[in-house]
Amino acid sequence: MAPGPDPNSIGDGAKRDEATTKVPSKDPKKKDDKKEEDLSEEDLQLKQNLELYVERAQDPNPELQKAALESMSFESLGYRLTGSEGDIGSWGHEYVRNLAGEIAEEYTVRQGEEASIEDLMDLVQQIVAFHMKHNAETEAVDLLMDVEDLDLLLEHVDRANFRRTCNYLTSAAKYLPGPDDMLVLDIAYMIYIKFEEYPNALQIALFLDNMQYVKQVFTSCTDLLRKKQFCYMISRHGITFELDPEMVENDVDREMLQDIVNNTKLSEGYLTLARDIEVMEAKTPEDIYKAHLLDGRASSGPSADSARQNLAATFVNAFVNAGFGQDKLMTVPSDSTSGSAGNWLFKNKEHGKTSAAASLGMILLWDVDAGLTHLDKYFHSNDNPIIAGALLGVGIVNCGIKNDCDPALALLGEYIDKEDSSVRIGAIMGLGIAYAGSQNDQIRSNLSPILNDAKAPLDVIAFAALSLGMIYVGSCNEEVAQSIIFALMDRSEAELGEALTRFLPLGLGLLYLGKQQESVEATAEVSKTFNEKIRKYCDMTLLSCAYAGTGNVLKVQDLLAQCGEHLEKGDIHQGPAVLGLAMVAMSEELGLDMAIRSLERVLQYGEQNVRRAVPLALGLLCISNPKVTVMDTLSRLSHDTDSEVAMSAIVSLGLIGAGTNNARIAGMLRNLSSYYYKDASLLFCVRIAQGLVHMGKGLLTLSPFHSERLLLSPTALAGIVTLLHSCLDMKSIILGKYHYVLYFLVLAMQPRMMLTVDENLKPISVPVRVGQAVDVVGQAGRPKTITGFQTHSTPVLLAAGERAELATDKYIPLSPILEGFIILKENPDYREE
């Protein structure tokens, strides 16, 4: 066992050796004092051996020294068990630590022999009690994990050490194989509940996706204000959650809390942040392209409208002005001559108009009332692509927002069985976005029949499967799985070769997102019977979805092995395998770095179809977190001779920079826009990436992780993964007529803010320190949790890897995780100086 940073331990190795020699050498002497006279023959033998070891330990020959020390250290457990009981700590920490190590080994031996462990457990009790009293929580936890009895911890934690203990437990859980990680988190949850540290308990309950626990948090806590904070935390996680009278008794209070869970105030908070940072002014795509920084370009732009470039501008405009409620293309007042709002819409061609109309939903994101008002006029159009866009827009504007009146379902429900495919897709995709994660039965009964309708076109079926996957994300719902499986089996050979068919296995995979093996097993078995054209694609998608965010090393290896194979042309399953690698490894820093390194190798030795997916995997690993090394790799790949590699690298540059306004990426993309000036497809990708980098004018993030990177929002991940799967066949989907799949990103869009509100939930400004987060798990004392901080006043933006702490004692935050909405309570002990 590695010595932890214990105050008694001495860091450097030589001195520690000395200490180990000293302790056992004292050991027989003590015994000598007591029992000198009545040494049995056996004991005498032991004593002599020990003396010999001590002598040898001082031998100049290092070999001999080592052997002596080893044989000696395994003795102390034996002595302890046979010898006196007394206070275990009286011989110092090193002795206890040594004992703990021996116990762990002895435990495994006895487990093998199925022998009794009672005497060992007595000792464990004492050791744990000792460690917990002496700031060595990490060692106590390690020992208990070794002897598989973590429950013991509950007896020994107290107010002073429970935080450090739980911290260690949660971070250790990331490296444990299932189901041990769940057990560890379970203990952490119970400890938090025991000490009424409800926000942390809730965090773990959400991590475990255990609604029973979430409920318990509400029922254990009696303070209404704290419950409001819980609601903010649930709303950030993006799950659908219904409060019941047991959790909140008072009807009025419950309604108010439910409003918070339903995210109805998200738009307001976001706009508060925008006004505070002074970025309300709408931006045009030209403001983003900054063509004046490139030579001679601005003067002679093409005089005719390019449909492709206008479509790109539509997306850039939508991403950049997302959630601000105003822009300069779509929402400008239409009373000026012949209605300029209509004008931009008609500068998009055919299916482009769908994305243009839907962009209104993005601009008015989260503001349902205003959004519906703006979209209304398009419902009465006689142009099908426009109606489709309006439907999709309704879905987008409702993303993450729940409303009792269910406007999205009421409006879209009527259109899912219309004649025109584009209108149907608009409605279906809109429902998928608006109700992601809701497990809404009514929508299921509406959408499921489409899947098995022999007359429905393939694209409608594909989007229906995808939307069902989103709505039932991570639910393991059998019925939905059955419908999608049947739909897959019904597909003809030719249909299985179509680009959009990939949405069927993807929809299926989303059902099991993050749920690991047991749940997905049955479906994975069925997938073995599929047509070979789709079988492996389905296998890979199911595997990667089921283990998404688990960091399971074995699965990473499985997927890596798939990427290494050199296959015949036309096999498409390696793409999802590469993406899967990123999905599994993305949850935890070390695994993430290893995955990045592995992908570099794959890039060098992999086949072309693998290389095409690598930039996307990198984009997922570093989403909204522009790591310089990854940025450089992607920049290199953006000039690759294979245009599809270049395209995915460019889109990924947008993903890693999403919502950061990163100047370096912006510069790279600007240069790429001049480099690819003549290639309409690549230029389109560059424009999209530029829009992503300036998403929400830098106030948004696409990262599905939140709460100090502990929690993974399933709907957010589902949105990103869907886009990435679409990018595996860029030409047929995004560069074809299904470019609106880009709007799936809305599922992951969240303000990267910290907004403090008072007890009436009105924003208040307080000073906070924002700095790089420091990992303090297992550190001695009370180390600083942030470094290189600056003091700002709220609301503030938090970049990837940053953490905030309150710089005033006047208020007490109701959650220790300072992200999103934070309720502040006045500190009763505060004295003005």
Binding site: D295, G296, S300, A307, K347, A370, L409, A410, L411
Partner: protein, 481 residues
């Protein structure tokens, strides 16, 4: 009687009464009074969908005090603009090309970048293009051989294709004829066509064009290529030993920039290139002696081509070696001090005029006052482009009118650069960098044209492994007097 509240946009209308015995249309009419939204545009969300005009209230299950949500506006419905928008993608290919502002690239047919870059550089000379388009299609004059004629026609076709196309053009026909005319370009290595020296391609192509574009009258002045690119040199050949001195004139298509240890700048290289030593039989001494040859420019071309002598035959290794030395060249070149005395005299007046005009542009007080000269100059220049060969400095006084004749100034602006990247002439990669009429610089890397910044063009001066200038072309700056 039920009482509900209705939320519309950001407003809430409280206490609206519903009579369950009347159809919902009546309720909608009530809302019309409140919101101004016509009933057919109202969308009211109730459980399970939208409220239908003829629905049964009891089946909908609206409860007393329930909050309903209504969507709808009285906004004008969007209509498609009467005049449909024409998208660039719908235009025919030729029109798309003009929108881009520069012409297409050339496909590499297997080590043909030497040829592609040469063609791109020469294509940037509009006068050459117009001369080619005047070239008679069918009738070739007797002193032009068949392959030269074919090559000239192929060049014209290729230039035309490049102007019309958006996507890269494949110069297959041109390449075939070029190899037919010059079999040395057909050398094979490992079954592949070998990389060739771009300078050789440039010289040979220009020579062929000069032969075939000569007007049938075969007078010196009507040689279009010579008028555009020809430099007349007057040399003084001097033998130190015997004191003999003679003078000779010659006409060349390019100046050489010799690169030695002292040369850091194009100007120094050019000077170096105009001096030479040669051994020849001295009639006075009756044996071979060393002669010094010093040349000066006697007449200036519209387009001055300079070749950097970067390749030389290395005897030790039996290889063409490359000099990587950095030699700077300016965007604006003044060759006044390389000119002969007579030429300098001719140039003085135009140069003074040019300085005045430039001073005026910078806001300085003009010395001579002809207010409208600026306008005239641009007019004159435009017309000269069409006429092609009417106003070279060799016949400055021959112009029809006194005013508006263009004069050479000895000042040149950089218009194209042909670069080589790599360690030897027979390998590596050639790329053309061409200034467009719009003033933008385009790099033609075979089939891939891309925009470049002007300051990056002067960075192609060598000294590393980056592209380095091999042949550069300057365009004369004229002044009208």
């Amino acid at each position: 009687m039920l009482t509900v509240s209705v939320k519309w946009q950001k407003k809430v209308f409280e206490g609206i009464e519903i009579d369950p015995t009347l159809p919902p249309y009546v309720f909608k009419a009530q809302l019309y009074d409140l919101t101004g939204v016509p009933p057919e545009r109202q969308k009211i969300m109730v459980k399970g969908g939208l409220l239908k005009d003829d629905a049964d209230w009891s089946a909908i299950g609206v409860k007393d005090g329930q909050k309903l949500m209504m969507m709808g506006t009285a906004d004008e419905i969007v209509k498609a603009p009467e005049k449909a928008i024409v998208f660039a993608e719908d235009l025919p290919e030729e029109e798309q090309a003009t929108h881009l502002g520069y012409s297409a690239g050339l496909v590499n047919l297997g080590n043909t970048c030497y040829m592609n870059s040469t063609v791109q550089c020469l294509k940037s000379v509009p006068e050459l293009k117009s001369a080619l388009s005047n070239y008679a299609l069918t009738g070739r004059s007797a002193d032009v051989d068949q392959t030269s004629h074919m090559l000239t026609v192929a060049t014209r076709e290729l230039f035309g294709d490049l102007d019309r196309s958006v996507n890269a053009v494949s110069p297959t026909q041109f390449w075939m004829i070029l190899r037919k005319k010059f079999p040395q370009f057909s050398q094979l290595q490992n079954g592949m066509h070998m990389q060739q020296d771009a300078e050789e391609c440039w010289t040979q192509l220009l020579y062929t064009l000069s032969q075939s574009l000569k007007a049938p009258t075969s007078s010196e002045d009507s040689d279009a290529v010579k008028a555009l690119f020809g430099v007349n040199l007057r040399s003084r050949v001097h033998c130190q030993e015997s004191g003999e001195e003679s003078s000779e004139t010659e006409s060349v298509y390019s100046l050489k920039c010799h690169i030695s240890h002292e040369v850091n700048h194009l100007h120094e290289g050019l000077k170096h290139g105009l001096k030479g030593e040669l051994e020849k039989t001295s009639p006075a001494l009756g044996r071979t002696a060393l002669y010094l040859k010093e040349s000066l420019i006697d007449s200036l071309p519209r387009y001055l081509t300079v070749q950097f002598v970067r390749f030389f035959w290395k005897r030790e290794t039996n290889q063409k070696a490359k000099i990587l030395r950095k030699v700077d060249y300016p965007l604006e070149l003044d060759i006044f001090d390389l000119c002969s005395e007579e030429l300098r005299k001719k140039l003085e007046a135009p140069r003074q005029k040019l300085r005045d005009e430039e001073g005026k542009k910078l806001g300085l007080q003009p010395k001579s006052t002809s207010k409208d000269s600026d306008v005239k100059m641009t007019d004159a220049e435009a017309s000269s482009k069409e006429s092609g060969e009417s106003s070279t400095v060799t016949q400055p006084e021959g112009g029809s009118s006194e005013k508006g004749t263009l004069h050479m100034t000895g000042i040149y602006d950089l218009v194209s650069v042909l670069t080589h990247k790599g360690r030897s002439a027979d390998s590596g990669h050639y790329v053309a960098w061409v200034k467009q009429e719009s003033g933008k610089w385009i790099q033609y890397d075979d089939s891939h044209p891309s925009l470049q910044r002007e300051e990056d063009i002067t960075k192609l001066s060598g000294g590393g492994d980056w592209h380095m200038a091999y042949i550069i072309m300057y365009k004369a700056r004229f002044v009208s007097m």
